[in-house]
Symmetry: C2
DNA sequence: GTGAAAGCGCTAACAG
DNA sequence: CTGTTAGCGCTTTCAC
């Protein structure tokens, strides 16, 4: 029954109407098996004319598939995570729809995987996409144990999981090099939770740029695991006290707080100190001055991750994807 | 087959093991039909011992249900919408899971309902939750036409749709009254897209407070449909030029921009002008000074909407819900 | 209280 | 190239 009362067609109905067997209809639709161009066309016509839509539940039952992919949504999030996640979701939904899959959303926290367990036990998804995972990943273990196909948006050291990620190392290295070439001398790097692999990559890129600039009289202080507001305040104070002329922020949230702190102290950007961010987002887009920083296409990476998962489900071999597709936004926050 | 190779139990297996019929197992699980306490208990034991999980696809096929609810995600969003949506999703997912439903996410734009159509045609959901809808709602028409049960988070004039919403009118009225009682005299209200019903409600509450304060020498200018940055700049400039002593912002995004504009003009809050917002969010939480404004529990309203939908699916009668559950956060942005 | 049997709509051997 | 037959795992009459 369709929801509006009029019974919807089944392949049985079509078979009867067209005077052929259900199998033929099934084949005409799926394109699998041998079938004549002619009958195929007849079926195709009938289908669009009568607006036939296959019943996914039946198809799923027969093929032991759901045509759903699960998307783990981190429950603990800061405002900085939102734009990235939201854009990823856009890309994921779009790609999924193109492949006739749907996206089942579930919440996940580091200590509560109950929703994910439910979804697995209930056979509600064919595979799962994990986002922004921490380095030590309990969800990954669970998925491996249960043999659920999955991909991760973001990176880790685990070579047994399939990742899709931006090339944070190259991007951060590139931005840092640019800052060095501008003649800035005294750097301060302020970064958040170093449990996150992405922050490790950012630090790595930053360090690589310095390693390749030997013999220069540049200095760098780093403040890591800066999470609470008071830690940001402290980091900014300390950086200013040691004569920093360039503050590099690991992400958009930290950057927005740093900018606010500088403003309160009447420190001018970029006259007194330059500011750049390794991750730019909507959170900063209205700032004055405009902040120089790296921009990533979250929707694209989401779409790619989704396609990778679907390929895996189709039995194809897929390997990690590292997107070279980042941009440097040149604001006027750097001298 | 479970994903990890070991075949999972079916009711057939359990029936064989326990020496009864499939029907009995089915009844023991669902609790429907007559069954002895004893066999029921035996089945219950077996199920938890062997970790049996019913196959939703089969159940769905038999009952013509999916146990999924669709959640429409507005694709065009500003950073201001994100926290609300994200928190709603949290509440929705949680309530859904408690009722053994899952949440299928799909994108929706005012001119593209293709994803929603897909999901309906594919019978992937039993009902749908719409969020933050515009006053004139094409999606609503489509759902009605197809007879898909749905609820809306937010309000509209349509009495035929079931809503769950916060009591914006009362909340905004209350905040405005507080500002009036503080002795503020010259108000400026800055609001966004007036196509959104929520903004109409906010305006209504604001006006009601004024109507009940007759004979006072208070003035009020309103700037509506203020969406682009330049419009915000213009509104702030104009408000200041007419001697405003209190700027009321309709939402968190506008407020954050207003605060930034005031800061650039070295206008002190609250010494030179008081600022309040009809919608407070994470976006403002680190602001200095702290902004006085209304706080709503998006997760709660999401959970309620979800429960309403599930009740509808269960054939229960439900009526609109207006949550009286808002809070006024007292910052120090009001004199 | 329990069971046998039919069927949800589709796919997948296996024949022809 | 097409049809027959048997399921997928569960619910649901209808008997007993």
């Amino acid at each position: 029954m369709s929801q509006n009362g009029q019974r919807s067609y089944t392949i049985g109905d079509i078979a009867k109407e067209l005077g052929v067997s259900k199998t033929t209809i099934s084949r005409a639709i799926s394109g699998k098996g041998r079938i004549s161009k002619e009958t195929q066309e007849r079926v195709r016509q009938f289908i669009i004319e009568h607006n036939y839509q296959p019943n996914i539940m039946a198809k799923g039952l027969a093929q032991n598939k759901t045509f759903n992919i699960g998307l783990a949504m981190p429950e603990e999030f800061g405002i900085g995570d939102l734009p990235f996640f939201q854009h990823s979701v856009n890309g994921i939904c779009q790609t999924a729809a193109q492949n006739d899959y749907d996206v089942i959303l579930f919440r996940i926290t580091s200590d509560n995987l109950s929703q994910m367990k439910r979804i697995i036990k209930n056979h509600k998804v064919d595979g799962i996409i994990l986002t922004r995972t921490q380095c030590d990943d309990y969800p990954v273990r669970l998925l491996k144990e249960n043999g659920i196909p999955f991909v991760v948006i973001g990176s880790s050291l685990d070579t047994e999981v399939t990742h899709a990620d931006n090339d944070h190392i190259s991007a951060c290295k590139m931005l840092t090099e640019l800052l060095l070439n501008r003649g800035l001398k005294h750097f301060a790097l302020i970064g958040g939770n170093m449990e996150y692999f992405v922050n490790k990559s950012r630090l790595r890129g930053y360090q690589m740029a310095f390693e390749e600039h030997p013999g220069e009289e540049v200095t760098s202080v780093t403040y890591l695991n800066v999470i609470k507001e008071f830690q940001i305040v402290k980091a900014v104070d300390d950086a200013l006290s040691v004569g920093t002329d360039c503050i590099v922020c690991m992400d958009d949230f930290i950057c927005s707080r740093v900018v606010a702190q500088l403003s309160e102290r009447s420190v001018r950007i970029p006259d007194d100190v330059s500011v750049a961010t390794f991750y730019s987002s909507m959170l900063l887009e209205h700032n004055n001055p405009l902040i120089t920083g790296l921009e990533f296409d979250a929707a694209k990476i989401g779409g790619i991750a989704c396609q990778m998962l679907i390929d895996i489900l189709d039995g194809k071999h897929v390997s990690d994807y590292v997107s070279p597709d980042y941009r440097l936004f040149m604001g006027n926050s750097v001298k």
